[in-house]
Amino acid sequence: MEAWVVATGLIFVYLLATVVLGAVANRRMTVDMEDFLLYGRKAGFVVLYLTVVATFHSAFAFLGSGGFFYSHGIGFWAAGTWTVLVGAITYVLGPRIWALGKRFGYITPADMLADFYESEAVRVLVAIVSVVFTILYIQVQAQGLGYIINVASGDRISFELGTLILLIVAAAYLMAGGLRAVYWTDVIQGVWMYIAVWVGAMYLAYELFGGPIELMRAVGEARPDLLSLPGPNGFFTPGMWIGMTITLSFGIIFQPHMMIRYYTAVDSKTLKILGATTPIYLMTLYVPAALVGLGGAVAMPGLDVPDRIFPELLFAHAPPILTGVILAGATAAAMSTLDSILHANMSVLTRDIYQRYVAPDREASHYVWVGRGIVLALLVVGYFLSVRTFDFLVVLVTLSGSGALQLMPAILGVCFPGPRLTTRLGVLTGITAGLATLYVTLVVAPHPMGLHGGVWALGVNMLLTLVVSRVTQPPSEETVQRIHGEIESEIYGSSSA
């Protein structure tokens, strides 16, 4: 049987499995906002673990990381720093956010920030940042999916049709089963993508070089420039290393599709175990990516699109069945992020905008149906953005990775009680100035003095937040006692000041 038939067939088997899971999740669902949007706050360790890692690792981790090793060499092993940092952030922040969500019924990040800072302006600004800077990831993931199915079918299914099919499938199981369907499919996707990357990389290492050690030796002889910093194109400077570590850890965790996961845990202990152990999965996924990228630079040099190195090597050297299984794994990587972003945007738009300002005090079933309608709208927008290229989108994609990072001072102000308080005007000024600085340091004059633009923006944001907070009105005493008291109680077992 031809390779494309096997590869495409396996992807469609995988898609069918996700739809079936969505249908089963729908039968378990109750008509309740917390159940539809937050899995009823009942996610246990295994489900939460696999949904967090699958969501964190998108199509980029599966395809793009190999491309990064291929182009920029061993410096991309820096990926380990931000994955271990993600674990520590989850360990420290996760239980705090979970406790507040459980106690005060928060569903979105804006719920928490607007409550503490007693400000509807904060709610709207956070909701806008949450949606604008993540909706573009729908485009990125959808384009990745279209590309994967196009490659798997040997150009028989067009990029546009592939994108549409996969967007419809993700939207269908999300609309049917809400976050429960997303979590259940993420369990399959998390397992599948991990096994697929490792099996594919090891197969190629043995097939092409005789093993991983021999692969490294071949790279050392043929391309020694790939084994030192800052890499052949001078990319991994100290400033870029530090910047990527901060933006790809805090910047991703503060995106709504990741933060919402903290609300869904069954208890805070689950989040601590999660923080301690998720880096094992996240970090070790970059080991096979290094083998693919570095080995590919020797075995298949001169690729115009380095991100294609993994599928190109598979089609050239692996049996069809293995290629199919691995490309289905790539589909899983992209879909697990896509469905989570669709869900997060649906939650923010339903909860922070529609329920708050358009139609408050309706039945839960009303909001569930509105949420489904929003998913449909996001599907149309996502497809439109995926198949068309706009100049302003290129700019926004450049900004998106560091956009959510600008929520950091505001979130830390809520989650870390102390003698000095962050204020409403402080965070509004900080976020606004941070976003403006981001535009300058990423678009107008990228990465001044070799330091990642996102870090410059965060520095300006933090400075202004601190300064303005010193001279403006803090949240009311009642709110500080209520929210910081809950965190004190959760972390230290006592709410006394």
Partner: protein
């Protein structure tokens, strides 16, 4: 009414907590510049057939995960 403030959550309050923070921050410094670009960036030195850069950082990452697991086991 005099506003009451909670003790800072930025500094750990127990000996084990302080040890965990010092260990994590100290180890984390080993996987950040300048250590990465000065100490580990030696393409001519290999350990077990793998560049020392890759091995050293893998060890540091593993130790960092170890600190998190230790903190969890200690109930921090």
């Amino acid at each position: 009414m005099t506003p009451t403030r909670f003790r800072s959550h930025w500094l750990p309050r127990t000996t084990s907590g302080r040890l965990a923070v010092v260990l994590y921050v100290g180890l984390f410094a080993l996987c950040m510049p300048p250590v990465t670009h000065v100490l580990w960036d030696q393409s001519d030195r290999w350990v077990g057939g793998v560049p020392v850069f890759f091995v050293a950082l893998f060890v540091v990452y593993t130790l960092l995960i170890g600190v998190l697991v230790w903190a969890w086991r200690k109930g921090l």
